[in-house]
């Protein structure tokens, strides 16, 4: 069974994958795998830009999103035509371009917005995993081939099992069984800069304690007065900052739900 494994930490956002996908599928007819993709507007692989934090504590990462080639794909039962969407023995999910009648049910059914509609040919279209190439002897699809940092990997599930074990899937709560696994998907952070307002100097070595539900994390401010709590689960946190000779500062109910938190410059 084929699987994608994508290492977010080494993706530099070059967009080669998104462009290579278009190079393979725009104006090229790979029936019975896929008919040509329109010149613009479809992203069978879409690179999504994510920004966390606020200036000056800002972090970015890119996530390549294509058809997840789910083991329990919602698109298949949504389709009213028998075998118009099917799963291959190697795990790839294909929309048969000749059988599709353009009802768009699968476009609505896909929770990953990975299926696009072609207004000109009246069919639903998406990533095929470049099955036409694999069947022709290629080891990997064009997006993976074009990745200069090898952030995108493709292969047998058994060969990639170590990466899969460390990775996550998108929206696992949907239980669609995605075959695209992401490594090093960043989590949220809480950060700030601690300073002495009288001296107008940063404070090094201030003790910062972040707590939630009985668990405690501790860091000290670095040589720039900065503290970082990274890789945080989404939740509500309390923060305490102590330094010798200063009164303790506390922040209550810091939310990392859907966002990272930069507390900015903090006077003690």
């Amino acid at each position: 069974m084929k699987t994608f494994a994508i290492d977010i930490s080494i993706c530099n956002g070059c967009y080669n994958c998104q462009i290579a996908c278009k190079d393979e599928h725009v104006a090229n007819d790979w029936t019975p795998y896929a008919k040509p993709q329109p010149e613009t507007g479809h992203f069978w692989l879409k690179l999504k830009e994510n920004i966390r934090g606020t200036v000056p504590k800002v972090k970015m990462h890119y996530v390549a999103v294509m058809c997840m080639h789910c083991d329990n794909p919602p698109c298949i039962p949504s389709c009213h035509i028998k075998d118009a969407i099917y799963k291959r023995e190697d795990g790839l999910v294909i929309i048969d371009p000749d059988k599709c009648d353009g009802c768009r049910a699968c476009v609505e059914a896909c929770p990953y917005d990975a299926i696009y509609f072609n207004e000109d040919t009246n069919i639903a279209q998406k990533c095929t995993g470049c099955a036409h190439l694999l069947d022709d002897g290629w080891k990997e699809p064009r997006c993976v081939d074009a990745c200069p940092t090898e952030a995108l990997k493709f292969g047998e599930e058994s060969d990639l099992k170590d990466m899969i074990a460390k990775g996550v899937t998108l929206n696992p709560e949907l239980k669609t069984g995605p075959r695209v696994h992401y490594l090093n998907m960043p989590k949220q952070f809480v950060g700030g800069t601690v300073y002495d307002p009288k001296k107008e100097e940063i404070i090094m070595g201030a003790k910062c304690t972040l707590s939630a539900n009985g668990t405690k994390l501790m860091v000290e401010t670095d040589d720039f007065g900065d503290f970082w709590f990274e890789e945080l689960k989404e939740g509500i946190y309390n923060l305490e900052i102590e330094a010798k000779g200063f009164s303790t500062k506390t922040f209550n109910d810091l939310s990392t739900i859907g966002k990272s938190v930069n507390l900015g410059d903090i006077p003690l």
Partner: protein, 320 residues
């Protein structure tokens, strides 16, 4: 060799009207100056192209006939390239035996040549230094001008273009840092703004904005995000011009149209175009409509959002 590929550039269209290539245009001036023979070196254009090939260091890898037939040649990475010596290693190992081309033969932080030849040039001093304000340039926050134009704009080389080349590629224009689709469907050049700077001006991500100073106005599409600090704006240079009012208002996003006009200093013809003062404001659909009504011909040029202005937008007749 400093490149990975060579290619023969074919003409895109036949010359229209009296238009001439840059080479021919300069040649006409050389004729008037009586320097035409020196200018051409006795070679035709085709002979110059072949000369380029002969001095390209790939002439032993691909024949002239093969190159002409294919149109390009991708230079393979040299075997054992990892053993190539580092660029200035000879100078590093023995600077006395391998001097640089400076008067001292060393890397010079202080230029004696500048000090001797241009002692009164306070804009290009022998040691590079910050100059807050000068006879040619007044583009800092401390300037009186900053009261009217309070943002410092940064104009980089575009990530998706080479200057104005490649501004028409449909697949890059779909990338959020390449173009911004305006409410009117036009693909605007992005103007990055910090959310604070944008909020002060009532600007939201995706809005059409006017970036301006006393030198003119350029329309862009706002990209509001934390990838830029406050009090700063950022527009790549090189978007293709699409005038609404020639000399005053451009819709294409060619930000160099409002950059400082003066050169680096009176003795140095460098461009000082990468940082200067501007203001940014939201453009309403009512404002766009009034421009449309006033300058209808500017909005009638043939345009395709996927690739921008078409050939026929500027050229009235001719071509192939």
């Amino acid at each position: 060799m400093q490149y990975a590929m060579i290619h023969l550039e074919e003409k895109g269209v036949d010359p229209i009207g009296e238009s001439k290539s840059d080479y021919e245009a300069v040649g006409e001036i050389a004729k008037k100056l009586g320097l035409y023979e020196q200018y051409t070196g006795g070679k035709t254009v085709d002979e110059w192209i072949k000369h380029g090939y002969e001095t390209s260091d790939v002439d032993d890898m691909v024949s002239w006939e093969q190159l002409k037939e294919k149109g390009y040649y991708v230079v393979p990475t040299r075997k054992d390239w990892e053993e190539d010596p580092a660029g200035m290693i000879a100078f590093y190992n023995d600077p006395d035996k391998n001097p640089l081309s400076t008067p001292s033969g060393k890397i010079e932080f202080y230029s004696e040549r500048l000090a001797k030849n241009f002692p009164d040039d306070y804009e290009r001093t022998p040691v590079p230094q910050w100059i807050e304000k000068s006879e040619s340039h007044d583009e800092s926050f401390s300037s009186e001008r900053a009261k009217k134009y309070p943002l410092l704009i940064m104009t980089n080389h575009g990530r998706w273009r080479i200057h104005a080349q490649c501004d028409d590629i449909p697949w890059t224009r779909e990338i959020p840092t390449c173009k911004v689709k305006g409410e009117d469907g036009y693909m605007y050049e992005p103007c990055w703004l910090n959310p604070k700077t944008a909020a002060e001006r009532g600007i939201k991500d995706g809005d059409i904005v006017r970036v301006f100073n006393e030198r003119g106005s350029v329309l862009c599409g706002a990209r509001v995000w934390e990838r830029l600090m406050a009090q700063v704006a950022y527009v790549d240079h090189g978007a293709r011009t699409d005038w609404i009012i020639p000399g005053k208002l451009d819709r294409g996003g060619a930000i160099n149209l409002i950059s400082p006009e003066m050169i680096t200093s009176k003795n140095c013809t460098g461009q000082a175009t990468t940082g200067y003062l501007v203001e940014v404001e939201k453009v309403t659909m009512a404002q766009m409509k009034s421009w449309r009504d006033q300058y209808p011909e500017a909005f009638e040029r043939e345009y395709n959002p996927d690739s921008g202005l078409c050939f026929d937008a500027w050229v009235e007749k001719g071509g192939n």
